[in-house]
């Protein structure tokens, strides 16, 4: 397999290993919440309301809305993260959690005893407390530019979160935000496939045999989600070519 050879993965990827990798998680049943709704209008499965309010404000600075495409909140990223933390990923079901725990080197990766759920619970409380001490108010009440400054201080580790290193918390939040913006809508984010429309990723199409050799082709078909493709299958039960 070729690696992710973005500059960062080789040069800086080891700097603060975020919690990235666990079992697939299904979205639990329940009425679909409305992305973009005020946090107190959403039935959170993991977050408390103060946590949800803070996460909502923070992720919309990581991926803000612009004139063309909505940002992380409009894409449902807070709901995506909430659902992830309420299921296998949050529970760290695929995380090796045997002691002893040592800090280790950056090259040795994540070495904290916390599941993602615990990391958020502790990290969000520390984040809120640090902002109150540093800025005298709640994060969500800061001006956007000040929010960005605060997030940068968390990212760099200038902020002291106590037992959870602030950069580990930040990298986990950033990675989960990107996931929520670009993953299939079945997971609760990427509402209206906004992340895919923004870059031009077509989603769950099955193939491009006729198109791959057409060089520099502007590809304009609207993206398609797994749920849409499943629905197409259900309505057109055409026999497969498979034996």
């Amino acid at each position: 397999m070729p690696p992710d050879l973005s500059r960062r993965s080789l040069l800086g990827g080891a700097a603060a290993a975020p919690l990235l990798s666990y079992a697939s998680a299904q979205v639990p049943p329940g009425p679909p919440p409305l992305p973009g709704a005020a946090p107190d209008q959403i039935a959170w499965q993991f977050f408390t309301l103060p946590e949800a309010t803070l996460v909502t404000a923070a992720v919309d600075r990581l991926i803000p809305p612009d004139e063309v495409f909505t940002g992380a909140v409009g894409a449902g990223v807070p709901i995506y993260i909430d659902r992830q933390l309420a299921t296998d990923y949050g529970a760290g079901r695929r995380l090796y959690r045997h002691p002893p725990f040592h800090e280790g080197t950056a090259e040795q990766g994540y070495q904290l005893p916390y599941t993602p759920a615990a990391l958020y619970r502790i990290g969000l409380a520390a984040f809120a407390e640090w902002v109150r001490a540093a800025y005298g108010t709640r994060f969500e009440e800061l001006a956007p530019a000040t929010m960005d400054e605060a997030l940068s201080r968390v990212e760099s580790g200038e902020a002291d979160f106590g037992e959870v290193p602030a950069p580990v918390f930040f990298e986990t939040l950033l990675a989960n935000t990107v996931e929520g913006f670009f993953s299939d809508p079945i997971h609760g984010g990427n509402r209206d496939m906004v992340g895919w429309r923004m870059v031009g990723f077509p989603g769950a199409y099955a193939g491009y045999t006729e198109l791959v050799g057409r060089h520099n082709l502007p590809f304009t078909r609207p993206p398609r989600s797994i749920a849409q493709a499943l629905s197409d299958h259900a309505h057109n039960p055409a026999p497969h070519a498979h034996r």
């Binding site: 500059r7 993965s9 080891a14 290993a17 079992a23 695929r94 080197t105 990766g109 990107v178 491009y208």
Partner: protein, 588 residues
Amino acid sequence: MARRLPEVEVVLVGMGWTGALLAKELTDAGHRVVGLERGVGRQTVPDFQTPTMHDELRYAVRHGLMQDPSRETLTVRNFTGQTALPMRQLGSFLPGIDLGGAGVHWNGQTWRFQLSDFVLRSHILQRYGPDILQDGLTIQDWGVTYDELEPYYDRFERICGIAGKAGNLRGEIQPGGDPFEAPRSAEYPNPPMTQPYAPTLFARAAAEVGMHPFPVPSANVTRPYRNPYGCDMHACNYCGFCERFGCEHFAKASPQVCVFPALLGNDRFELRTRCQVTRVEYDRQARRATGVTYIDGRGEEVFQPAGMVALCAFSIHNVRLLLLSGIGAPYDPRTGEGNVGKNYTYQTMSGVSIFKDESFNFNPYMGAGALGMAVNDYNGEAFDHSGLGFIGGAYIACYQTGGRPIERHPVPGDTPRWGLAWKQAVARHYNSTISLSVHGSSMPHRGNYLDLDPTYRDSFGLPLLRMTFDFPANDRLMSEFLTDKAVLIGNAIGGKVEAARRQGLYSVVPYQTTHNTGGAIMGENPRESVVNRYLQCWDAHNVFVMGACAFPHNPGYNPTDTVGALALWAARAMREDYLPNPRPLVDA
């Protein structure tokens, strides 16, 4: 006390590529074989079907088809003075789980090694003299030659239906192929893939700077195909979900597509899933194995006596099983003695990105795992290393494996990591960026090895494997040289060219490759190797060890073609020579 089963003729530990190939070859010869798989069974239908398989989060990011590190992982450190710590989540490499192993989620990049790779030490000394070898490099000859392996490469490529263009047919250089490849006895079984725009621009630029581009040999087959086992494959449709995914189309070669349809149902073969082998039972006096002990799906410990045992698990798991079983002497980096765990090698990766203007539409999602163009002008011994101070090399490739946006959203290095500028840069560059891979060799060094961790254990209470590894200076020099060559091609393509060089210590965090090689290496004698030229243990003639753990060094190519060829080569030795008359096949 383990429950004891009746003895079987052959037991295979692990049912990925090598287990499937051995099971097929040995049952065809009339032998009775039991295959033990630690995971569950799975098949193309229903397990790999679209659209649910096309879920980047579930499979590529959360590793839905990969080994579960909560149950078994390994510990890592860069050098012996450090305390190794567990890899608590997957990162740098992604071993598979369940039937078919990593043969399900590989990309299908199917490369042969060079003539010189199999006689590396002799070749290097003869061509350059000893001074080119940096201190601590432990390269050696493999004990088997390319010419001996060639028919087995050819057969594995036919089993997989590899799509490509030969560059060297029996010594005749062929236009359109790789002029630096070792001679082939025959053309590939299927024609090359249709190349997208970015690899085409890469190939044009590489030719402009004097290199020799050709289509990457691909296990994503290009037309309906029936392999030598009678298994049918369909043409790849470039869906862009190969690596980290199962193929829904019967188009990517895998044990599921290419072997199991002709194996499962054979009365001489018994597959047992959810059976985790914990050790090979080794009779030290008799210097032979009596069978294997495993934990079955109900948690019961079972002893399976066997006349012959083949370790067919992923490379590093085979090494761990040897260590847990006490077969062979563990390698000691202080004295250089012992061989089990020695010569652990990896792959030395770097990359180059070329950011083009917005008029370019590369449509990266129209992809396949082994879709792309490459050059081998600076791989292995294709070029003269005189005065360079290093050995080895890399292929430089422009792959288009898929455009899944969680993992792939390239932005120039001066872009902020988040916020509006990041978002707009992602939108701007997603469809107009070319990525080049520099897929470098990994030379063995006396400080890089595998042993058992003294502290951390798996879910059965057994010691984890401990990996001690950093990139040797030789490989860092190689990577600098090769990355410069990729930059040269990037400049000829034109655009904003940025190199991601191989810097810093080896890190287990960012994905690099699942090409973990060495640790149970083959060789000419028991002083310097674990297995002989037929992958038979020097210390137990009825134990064979398959996989890339047998590589004494890792050349600048993907390992699977050689893993398959070696398994088929070993299978012939078992079938025609060993099983009719069990004994050491090479005198120690």
